[in-house]
Amino acid sequence: MVKESYSGSVEDQLVKSSIEGDKNAFGEIVGRYQGMVARTIKGMLGDSVFSDDIGQEVFIKLYYSLSGFRGEAKLSTYIQKIAVNLTLNEIKKRKRFFSMFSQKGNAEMHEFEVADQDNEGRKDAREIVDKALMKMEPKFRIILTMRMLQGYSTKETAEILGLPLGTVLSRLSRAQEQLRGILNKLS
């Protein structure tokens, strides 16, 4: 199953126990959602040690913000939003770093991200997917990650990214165009 969906009452209990400081309950939440968070972060940033650090930050932020979680949205959506925000912040940081030292900025950042991959034991399909993702603009990359790696619908993607549905739809078609060009160059 691609999207994590668990019983609401069990999750409510896990959230409640975690707020009270129950280590095991929070460990259960981490165990349930780490795959989902890994897909978002590694899809956006590539498969590197930095991604694991950002993943840890996601769950640390989740732990300290759980008391503010009212249960209006699904826990998975709440976690996904944190993951997306932290990932986009990391991309901004990288962009700032590269633009400070080079006029090429974005191009060098993409090169860094592609080179940063751990290629050991990588299968062809995964390699192609990763390269295609890393060559896309971040605003399209996040859409592709949500759709291709998380299996979200257009509506769910819009909700998680906090974008109007129309914006997501227009980005979908532009991302598809960009992706086609990238894949043609890759093959």
């Binding site: 691609v2 999207k3 400081g21 280590k23 929070f26 460990g27 981490v30 165990g31 780490q34 795959g35 968070v37 890994a38 897909r39 590694k42 899809g43 498969d47 040690v49 991604s51 694991d52 993943g55 840890q56 769950f59 640390i60 732990y63 299968k123 062809d124 399909a125 995964r126 192609i128 997917v129 295609a132 859409i143 592709l144 759709r147 291709m148 790696l149 998380q150 299996g151 979200y152 619908s153 257009t154 739809l169 979908l172 078609s173 991302a175 598809q176 992706l179 086609r180 894949l183 093959s187």
Partner: protein
């Protein structure tokens, strides 16, 4: 799977009417899987709960310091009150001179005391 089919699969994931979950499952079968390193969960829990322990220790320290200060302050106040009462009982007043122990001495006797004559 042929490269062209894989390409279509990736591109189709951006089609509005595409079944994204089905697409994702096919990609997973081809090895497109992502996970964090070993011991990820333990690392997260360690970072959260060891930080919580150190915060608790700090809170405990501040709490015990304030308890100690409270006790010292109370003892000090009690000592001052006892001192004032004893001064009042021995000197008969709480004037500045009685605090300094000079209420029963004349200026001349102080000069004699200081000069030794």
């Amino acid at each position: 799977m042929k490269p062209a089919e894989l390409k279509d699969l990736i591109i189709n994931s951006l089609s509005v009417d595409n079944n994204t979950e089905d697409n994702m499952r096919k990609l997973e079968e081809l090895g497109v899987k992502y996970s964090f390193g070993e011991g990820f969960r333990e690392k997260v829990l360690d970072r959260i709960f060891s930080a919580a322990v150190s915060v608790n220790r700090e809170v405990e320290f501040v709490r015990s310091m304030s308890t100690i200060f409270y006790r010292i302050a109370l003892t000090g106040v009690a000592a001052i009150v006892i001192l004032l009462i004893s001064i009042f009982l021995t000197e008969g007043s709480l004037s500045f001179n009685s605090f300094l122990g000079l209420s029963n001495n004349y200026d001349e006797s102080i000069i004699c005391l200081l000069t030794g004559n």
